[in-house]
Symmetry: D2
Subunit: 411 residues, 4 copies
């Protein structure tokens, strides 16, 4: 049996344990009531994330590689499988909030039992195959940590007087100056270079031809977005995609998701509580429709995901380490504050090969009617992000930490 050496093993156990603890920490100071409900079909109850991330390790590791492991509860496979048809039936996503049981307390027991079993398994040596799946499980759980922040924010804001999630005060936004970076036409390499972990959708690395273009060094600010609103852009069809125009009218959308106008003054709900809108902070929680309309209004366009990736490599940007701030305040960072919509549809790279086995369903089957976002955000877990990372959402969705970076043709 090919095993990784003990040093790697200890590091893996440590990362596994820390990741598991971080997830629980995110939920720790919430009320049980906050962990149960599902105010929108796309938002999951936090307790479901606690269960699902656990099921992932149980289903893909313990059930496969641990002979003496018995499922904690046979029905959890039904309840906590998200969408893996090859792993059997799964509960309908929009009905996750219809389950009062298992209780939060029961799910924490489940986490403990599975964690103990995983650590036991690892302590006996790790086959490289298991290590690979464990790594995916850790990365998967980090994705759900960001989803937890998104869902918790949405859940709390549904209350008429939404409480702050974080006990810390919201930091002030940093002032910025406009700046554009010009990049010449060239054949570039796009995708993951095989150093370190990546999801299947980032591979294989491949060539792409880019014409010369210019890209903003800053993400669009609340102040800039406010000008767009005040110019009446939500009332003018010419800036909008046809589907976007129908969407804003049907749903009466006229500002980013968490903006609120109280007696003529704009406020924004953040995980640090409701706060007056900061004009210098990056605009966040907007749909693709809005990002695209804003770019049209400005006479610019959204970058492609290839342009974005090429731009990231061209900077000396390293993702700044995750602070305690849970709201973007720096519009001048290359990364790490808001995910930026690209104009690229989420599609397979040339030569794409999905993960094997049940994990084949991880990414490929969602390559339809979704757009790629790049760049990371304030709630992306430390160490999770890389320049080849492809995030993706449907064009009407707003509840992720999404913003705008503009691009322009040069010709």
């Amino acid at each position: 049996m090919a095993t990784s050496d003990s040093c790697d093993r200890e590091e893996l156990i440590l990362r596994f344990s820390e990741t598991r603890k971080t997830t629980a920490d995110i939920c720790a100071h919430l009320e049980i009531e906050d962990l149960c409900i599902q105010p929108s079909a796309e938002v999951s109850p936090p307790k479901w994330h606690l269960g699902h991330t656990t099921w992932f390790f149980e289903e893909l590791i313990l059930q496969q590689y641990c002979n003496d492991y018995n499922r904690f509860d046979k029905q959890f496979s039904l309840l906590f499988n998200s969408y893996y048809k090859s792993a059997g039936l799964h509960w309908t996503q929009k009905d996750r909030g219809n389950l009062s049981r298992p209780t939060v307390s029961k799910i924490y027991q489940y986490r403990q039992i599975v964690d103990d079993a995983i650590v036991s398994l690892l302590e006996n040596g790790i086959a490289s195959e298991v290590a690979a799946i464990l790594e995916i499980g850790i990365q998967h759980e980090q994705q759900h940590q960001e989803l937890l922040y998104m869902d918790i924010k949405y859940i709390l804001h549904c209350n008429p007087n939404p409480p702050a999630y974080s006990p810390l005060p919201l930091e002030s936004a940093i002032e910025i100056t406009e700046s554009w970076r010009k990049l010449d036409e060239q054949l570039v390499n796009i995708g993951h270079s095989d150093n370190g972990y990546a999801f299947d959708n980032e591979s294989p690395q491949h060539k792409a031809y880019l014409a010369s273009f210019s890209i903003s060094e800053n993400t669009v600010t609340n102040g800039e977005y406010l000008s767009f609103i005040e110019a009446g852009a939500y009332q003018q069809a010419k800036y909008w995609l046809s589907m976007g125009w129908d969407w804003i009218n049907k749903n009466q959308i006229s500002s980013p998701l968490y903006w609120q106008n109280i007696d003529g003054v704009w406020y924004e709900y953040t995980l640090h509580g409701l706060a007056p809108l900061e004009k210098n902070a990056p605009v966040v929680h907007i749909s693709y429709f809005e990002a695209n309309a804003f770019a049209n209004w400005r006479g610019c366009r959204l970058p492609t995901e290839q342009e974005f990736e090429h731009y990231l490599h061209s900077t000396d940007s390293t993702v700044s380490s995750h602070s305690d701030a849970l709201h973007p305040i720096r519009a001048s960072d290359a990364t790490n504050q808001v995910w930026c919509w690209t104009q690229s549809h989420y599609s397979a790279y040339p030569g794409y090969r999905p993960f094997k086995g049940k994990l084949e369903e991880y990414n490929g089957k969602f390559m339809c009617n979704q757009f790629v976002l790049r760049g990371g955000c304030v709630t992306t877990p430390h160490g999770h992000y890389r320049h080849s990372y492809r995030n993706f959402y449907q064009p009407h969705q707003q509840w992720m930490f999404s913003g705008i970076r503009l691009a322009k043709d040069l010709s």
Copy 2:
């Protein structure tokens, strides 16, 4: 100031306090998770009932008659007003489960504050006007106690392996023999006779002419209903109202709400847990559509509400005292086990006058597309029921404790 004497006052305070305690007791042994969610638009989270019944006293008594009372929380008026347009804006019913706050614990604080304020107010003497509203508030809270049982049952059963609500075992059903009561044609008095409390919809008492008819001494049993299923009646349009036929086909209904067929054996979910179907027990949790189809299949009909009320007066039936059983087991009782669908649309009695003030909205505005049920059920609070009582639901609803009593023409 016209006040009731101290003896009446003490009795009223006692009934108020007991009613309030009973509501909390119903929720006491549930998990917080069970109290928060709303798996169906017509089902409310139990914590909402805890808040709403409290708001009723705060809004209609403390806000009107208690000068030094300050609302516990200004937003509770929005959140816990059910549908009283004259009392300001109210939260949309189907979105009650989208609120994680206030927490259950906060709502219990709210109950305590309001209870204390009411008792203080009462101890200083009670104007008859206040006493009248307090009585309505107590009756109103009793209605919500029955709703709590209905909603809790629905919530628990949505879980894949639904837990029992009651720690007690389900009692065995009592065997019955078929028996019909014949009643001659006559001009009868229908409605409340002015002795004791009644809702506005039970008045005024008025004359109605009834032709002779026969009515069953028993409510229809599970065994009889099973014959209806086994005869293929759910597949034969001729027994069904047109809307009912569409409803069973669209929603794939083929048995009462809580019936479940496991490997060819019928079970029923009860508040005492899942149990094999008892053939002698009354069928319960059926829609008007099903009740009407069953009656057609049997060559009978449903009684009118006037016939039902006249029948009740003709028996020596007193509502048997509320036991600990939370599931019907006696099909031969005149009352108190299952509410029986009548063929009568819920309409105003001749000369009907609604309650005054905000309470005008209590009953009258729902007199559309609902059918009257008569007779009480196992979860109706002790002392709440009377023969003139008019319960009402939409023809497709199943989650109340609804059953069937058959009638026949005699001519």
Copy 3:
């Protein structure tokens, strides 16, 4: 074989032929385009009525009693059966407008073939059983003549510049004076007295006790209804049933169906074209919700159907003969101008027995969530109406010629 005598037979053939001709005449001066479309699920393409009324005779008479008759087209049974489950599959009502074939011309051929076959059959003598069904078929076709006017009006008005149906000018409305009729309490006979034709839902005649009441000699006028609108009643929840309030808000209803406010002036679309609103004419095309709210606003109520029938018998009202006017102009007629909403749910009379055979489905299965209208209207065919006649629609429907007659308690 029991046959009616030749005199009756000739009269029956004549009435059959005239009825058939009248239906075709109603459609004669429309364009083919007007006969094909279905702008609302409840409205049928006129060509469908032409086919369905023909199928009725083919299915219930020719197929049963005429050995040498072969169906004109086997698929017409599918297409032109409305809702008789016992007559096999039928096309979904809301999809009638999805059929381009058969063409109008083909359907007229179908009418001719069936008419000829029926007349041939009759000329050989008529069994009383056949005569009875033929009578139902004639009455049925007359019902569809009124439906044709309703549907044609709706179809034409969907066009941005709706053409007049009738070439005649709209007659002026007759002025009226307010007058009420008082009726004392008594035990009355309700229902059809067995002289002449009646539908099954009008029988059996039975006793009902009525308290004393007062009823308006006039139907509510446009002028009175305008006062209701101008008083802001559509914006005040207190006048409305809960379902009605939701309905007007969801559908943004703020006036009767065919009213239109152009630059501050009210117009009404009529079958004689768009015309300035006549204040003295009866209000027409309103829902039960609106009728009920209007009555509340006026401090009155709607009559019950028993009160209405009793009132009709108390007048010397005979239904005035059908003129060429296709819009109500006399508010003071006891009958024949607009159908009046009653507060009575459409239910079975005590001892009700439906028609036999396939016709069992004619009426009984619709006794759910519909309210009774009484009195006839300008598009009711001559000779079709009688005082015991029960028309019925759902409480939100507006496209029939529906209006209001007010009643009051006297005590």
Copy 4:
């Protein structure tokens, strides 16, 4: 005034007149009933196409460049504007079938008046600007000619016994042999080369890097697709996009749109009538979901639109001239039989500039959630197609003549 010379002018007038005549010819032998109805929101009544294509010339040429032209009917701008917000209000697409007026005959009058006015205008010399818009109008009308075939086919097939559109018999399919073309990696030019007409979405021509790939010389046949069905692929989630799996289950899709299984034998409805399924003919009328699933099942993939365009240039394919066949029978043609789904989302080319003025709305605003199809089909008008042509539809749509050409990676 810059005018084109008289020779060009005559050619333009001729092409205009022929195009207009062809549109009318397509509708000529249908019944009026076929021209009016809208059985699905995405399908327009043929009479609407007749009006809309006329409005296009009226709105964009006569209203702009012809001083003495008065609109034929002011409301036609509302009715026949498809979606140009800059040209004022437009009728809702899904409600086009709710209009009985204008009649077909009136629309033909409209066509005549507009045609005469255009020809008059042209005969006086043509500014290059007008010529450019006229050219767009002709191309636009050709697009609607193909849409007419699609919509007519859909409308006719909704009838229970759908008639043939074409009086000609369906030709037999041509047998094929499997063959693949290998293309080496290279930097290619994609997009329109500026010779001849093109829509804005085909420009600008730009470089794209393609890895080596292989592409089938044939489109997938009915026989191959039948194997996919018979292998149970519609019941296996692993072949399907997540949205596609939901779509086939919700809509109970289990074969291409016009396939029908009668007593175990497969038939296909074609514009030449219902016919037994031809195994050698190209599969047609499938969604992107189905095309993608088929490719997965075969271990292949769909080509990108860049690969497809490069492949077309690599063949000596010229679009074969339009025959009278209105159903694909040759699977071995490079083009002209079925539009082939590509895996490319419909997006702007680098440097894309939309048409100016009202025509800015022609293409760009639809670049969301649509996939590109390439290659032309049997109902594409003669002369309308070019290799850079980009057709596009939503992934669930089936009613266009859509099929599959497979591709494979080579590495």
